[in-house]
């Protein structure tokens, strides 16, 4: 900057403070956008509720044909809540992340230092998109009695017959093991060389998934074209992105990368062979989780793909890649609908917990004194009442529904987070930068909004992320206690209703169990990692 330039600049001693007229604060751009979107959703809700069909809110679609109970909530109620929580998520989590791209990147880099957290983040991202778009893409699970109890599709290999689902699980484990093995053998060179290849592959995969999800959803919802067309488009986009990145990044892909890839693939292949052998011995033989439907389920399995020489036993087909449940519902739609339910639990409960915990914690911590005592006594009392008890009482009045579940758990799970926020606020309140703002003339609202809240947001985010697995598990537990809406195919419901078919129909419950476990584990790992990454004490 030139010196002459500096002379023309405004300088602090030239400000005529008597002439300064504060115009009063306006609403920020983000808030304006959020309010506008919220208004659209509310208008649609009002239209749906008051104009289009006055009654659906109080009438349970799931049980529609059966019981026409007046005071059971409609599934649609939850859909409205879900839309609002998605808006909140977009405007108050994703948008700020985009706004502070540098900081987001810094946090992301720190997070990816932790390998487990990287996987957890990847899975949670998939979980989010699967939950939002999955049901639109694969449709609702529908009863198809002739297709009952089909196992996952399987194929004969030199190592014996294996099913698709087991291969996916064993394959993921082997990929992890390969990485760990090469790492422990100090083959950094191979991992590094493969890393570039893997980066391209990951981009191809992500590009494919993202495009397929969006295009497929549009094609499916509006019945425009088949999945094949969508997959074709997605594959082109994915490959284009991956290759484009490879070219742009200026990385060389030569013999070195080829060699590394070969080494990694060989290692992976060897481990996979061992894994499949273990699968045969432990899972199929010992636990009798057979890829060929036999036993009780075979009796109901028509001989549409009979195994040669094994009587009436049958294999799965590509119609239902992961098999079907007892009433012929495909496991894939079941998994994605369950994912939607879990995502709804996670997002809507968070949407209730975050503001409540922040509000109570901030007010208690900032105001202090009697207000603090009263609020904290109340949180103590509330913490002694388990949300599940409140839920059991509430369903007597409003009937069993996910709506009641998320609202009750959302309203009764914020106490722990509020305590954390309060202690954080008390620390921040005494910080010099708050005194500095006060000595500059800032009012309480400004201090809370501009200094305290941004500094406790990490605490809230971490605490809620760590709370989500509990909520998802609680939903499953409620399904297990048969206190849920049994027409809603959540993971818990599927598990509890299909568990009795083990081992003959093992896939019916095992698949949702594994997805549920991975989800819970991912959120826990991510929560822990976030706590480390976002800890303000490690900022400096």
């Amino acid at each position: 900057m030139a010196a002459s330039d500096a002379d023309e600049r405004a300088r602090f001693e030239q400000v005529d403070w008597d002439a300064v007229e504060p115009s009063g604060g306006g609403v920020g751009r983000r808030s304006a956008l959020f309010l506008a979107s919220l208004a659209v959703v509310l208008a649609a809700f009002w239209y749906d509720f008051a104009v289009a069909s006055p009654d659906p809110l109080f009438y349970n679609v799931g049980l529609a044909e059966g019981l026409k109970e007046p005071f059971t909530w409609d599934v649609r109620g939850i859909d409205w809540l879900f839309s609002v929580s998605l808006l909140v998520f977009v405007f108050y989590v994703l948008y700020p992340m985009y706004e502070n791209l540098d900081r987001t990147k810094a946090y992301f880099d720190k997070l990816t230092n932790n390998r487990a957290a990287t996987f957890a983040l990847g899975y949670v991202t998939l979980f989010f998109f699967g939950g939002v778009f999955g049901p639109l893409l694969v449709g609702q699970p529908s009863t198809d009695i002739p297709a009952t109890s089909r196992p996952p599709v399987s194929a004969a290999t030199p190592l014996g017959r294996v099913d698709l689902f087991s291969v996916l699980v064993v394959g993921s484990l082997c990929a992890l093991a390969t990485w760990g093995l090469l790492d422990s053998l100090d083959r950094g060179r191979e991992l590094g060389g493969f890393g570039d290849v893997a980066r391209v592959l990951v981009r191809v995969g992500l590009g494919f998934l993202a495009t397929f999800t969006l295009v497929g959803t549009v094609f499916n919802v509006f019945s425009l074209a088949s999945f094949r067309t969508a997959a074709g488009i997605a594959a082109v986009v994915g490959v284009a992105w991956g290759l484009g990145w490879a070219v742009r990044s200026g990385r060389s892909f030569g013999v070195e990368q080829l060699r590394s890839t070969a080494v990694v693939l060989v290692a992976f292949g060897l481990l996979l062979v061992v894994g499949i052998e273990l699968l045969q011995v432990v899972i199929y033989d010992l636990l009798q989780f057979d890829p060929i439907a036999g036993g009780a389920s075979s009796t109901s399995c028509p001989a549409y793909a009979e195994a040669p020489g094994r009587g009436s036993n049958c294999y799965g087909t590509w119609d239902y890649p992961l098999g079907t449940a007892r009433y012929g519902q495909g496991l894939i739609p079941l998994v994605f609908t369950g994912m939607r339910v879990s995502l709804q639990v996670a997002l809507i409960c968070s949407m209730l917990i975050v503001p409540l915990a922040t509000l109570v914690g901030t007010v208690a911590g900032y105001v202090g004194g009697v207000v603090d005592d009263l609020l904290m006594s109340y949180t103590d009392i509330q913490q002694t009442v388990p949300a599940i008890i409140v839920y059991m009482i509430t369903i007597h009045v409003y009937g069993r529904s996910l709506f009641v579940l998320v609202v009750v758990f959302g309203l009764f799970s914020w106490a722990g987070a509020a305590r954390l926020v309060r202690s954080e606020v008390i620390q921040r309140r005494e910080a010099d930068f708050v005194t500095a703002a006060r000595s500059a003339g800032a009012g309480h609202w400004r201090i809370m909004g501009r200094h305290i809240l941004p500094n406790v947001s990490n605490t809230v985010l971490t605490s809620v992320t760590r709370q989500i697995p509990n909520l998802i598990l609680a939903e499953a537990a409620i399904a297990f206690l048969a206190l849920n809406n049994i027409m809603l195919p959540s993971w818990g419901e599927t598990i509890s209703s299909q568990l009795k078919f083990i081992p003959d129909g093992w896939w019916m419950s095992t698949i949702p169990v594994i997805v549920l476990s991975v989800t819970v584990l991912s959120f826990s790992v991510l929560g822990d990692a976030l706590r480390d990454v976002l800890d303000p004490r490690s900022d400096s």
């Binding site: 300088r11 115009s23 703002a437 003339g441 500094n455 900022d539 400096s540």
Partner: protein, 467 residues
């Protein structure tokens, strides 16, 4: 010299007491008198140092005169242009400050300002903090932090704010590009430069700097100090500079006020104070500073004991419990050191901190090497005297008699009569009467009984030699 300048701020009888509460009903069981009636005036363009040890209330004095904490009592008269009252106090505000005397306050008393007046006043008075890390919001860029006061005071144009801030950052020796960097990317010294920029950005009349260089290395300290001096000269700022470090005070201040236990004990122009300290506490403080000259060893006057707790400060002169020059009563003629020790002994006896068992234990510890002989009464007597550094025979017969009797009473576990005995003999005016701040020189005031007329601090005590 400071007398002919215009005053900026006069502090009169400022007090800040923190209630000590107990139980859920917050019953008040005591008060910590952090600041207990201080007076001083800050003149235009000068730097007034406020010096004292930790816990003497100097930081509390700063925050309460800026009304970052509500003072318990006193006046802070602001001599600048008093912002007009734009709106009356809300009922809630009135409820919060149940002092009742607001009506009687002068219109330019900061303590009586309404919220809107206070906000205007905050533009004139800025503060700099000790901890360069803690005084910046980690989630704001330093530019945002510096520009925040502008925004608060209504400068709505973001371009103008940014220009002002970038210009100021350059003028405190940083780069305009630093606007978008975060505090953790800066070193302590750089952060203190940013802090200076933040304090200056609204063009204040005076700045309160609370230990602004204490957290910095010496090589950085002088950099920041000279920057402060430059900026002060350029913008005619007045500054209240709080520090515990006499070296720093000497470097930057025009006048110095010395605080002890919530009170100001001495005020003088800097060089005058360093050359001719009047109050024994100031003398001890100056003497305690290790000098960076190996040929001048000796840590000066030894102050016995610790600073008393501000929740129950000593009566009279608050320094009398540690003062090496505490005044003897007319009847006594002891060496000063012996009198000091005897007074210490008396305070401990009165406080019930001494007893026969303790004496026995001391006696045993003293002869732990010398076999297992029985502890005689004489041993215990000697141990007790040794504990308080009292010689076996005091130089004044009356005093000796009193101490001997008291020692015996203590050994008989009769603390009451021991205390009576001692308090009859060892009395001091310093304990009974509170000294007023008295003028010793044109600009020099000190609050000590030794400071008046004939008796000066120098003649009263020449015996207290360097250790």
């Amino acid at each position: 010299m400071s007398e002919d300048r215009e005053p900026v701020l006069s502090v009169r009888g400022l007090k800040k007491h923190y209630p000590v509460t107990k139980g859920i009903l917050r019953r008040e069981v005591g008060q910590v008198k952090a600041v207990d009636g201080i007076d001083f005036t800050l003149y235009e363009g000068e730097t007034l140092g406020l010096v004292g040890e930790s816990g003497c209330g100097k930081s509390t004095a700063a925050t309460s005169l800026l009304r970052l904490e509500e003072p318990t009592a006193g006046e802070v008269i602001y001599h600048g242009e008093v912002p007009e009252e734009t709106n009356r106090k809300t009922p809630l505000e009135k409820l919060r400050t149940i002092r009742g005397d607001d009506e009687a306050r002068e219109p330019n008393d900061v303590v009586g300002f309404s919220q809107s007046q206070l906000k205007r006043f905050r533009r004139k008075a800025q503060m700099i903090f000790q901890n360069p890390t803690g005084s910046f919001d980690p989630r704001m860029t330093v530019g945002e932090s510096v520009a925040e006061p502008l925004l608060i005071h209504g400068l709505d144009d973001p371009t103008e704010r940014r220009e002002i801030t970038e210009d100021l950052l350059e003028r405190v020796g940083l780069d305009a590009d630093d606007y978008d960097r975060y505090p953790h990317e800066f070193s302590g010294g750089q952060k203190q430069r940013v802090a200076l920029a933040r304090a200056l950005v609204v063009n204040p009349e005076f700045v309160v700097a609370d230990e602004p260089v204490s957290a910095l290395d010496v090589s950085i300290q002088s950099e920041i100090l000279s920057l402060m001096r430059d900026l002060q000269d350029r913008f005619g700022l007045s500054m209240l500079f709080i520090s515990h470090d006499m070296g720093v005070i000497r470097e930057i201040c025009d006048r110095v006020a010395v605080m002890y236990l919530g009170e100001i004990v001495e005020v003088a122009p800097t060089e005058e104070l360093f050359r001719n300290p009047q109050h024994p506490y100031t003398q001890a403080l100056l003497a305690s500073i290790p000098t960076p000259d190996p040929r001048q060893r000796g840590l000066g006057i030894e102050l016995t004991g610790d600073v008393p707790s501000p929740d129950n400060p000593p009566s009279g002169c608050r320094f009398h419990t540690r003062c090496p020059k505490v005044i003897q009563p007319d009847g006594l003629d002891l060496p000063q050191e012996q009198f000091r020790r005897a007074l210490d002994f008396r305070h401990q006896v009165e406080g019930g901190d001494v007893d026969a068992d303790g004496a026995t234990e001391l006696a045993r510890a003293r002869q732990s090497d010398a076999a297992t002989g029985d502890i005689t009464r004489d041993d215990r007597r000697r141990a007790l005297r040794a504990e308080f550094d009292l010689p076996d025979e005091l130089d004044d017969p009356a005093a000796e008699e009193s101490v001997a009797a008291a020692v015996d009473s203590v050994l008989d576990d009769d603390l009451e009569s021991a205390g009576e005995r001692l308090s009859d003999t060892f009395t001091t005016v310093c304990e009974r009467e509170k000294p007023e701040l008295e003028r010793t020189d044109e600009n020099h005031v000190a609050a000590c009984h030794l400071v008046d007329g004939s008796e000066t601090v120098e003649t009263a005590t020449t015996e207290v030699a360097d250790d």
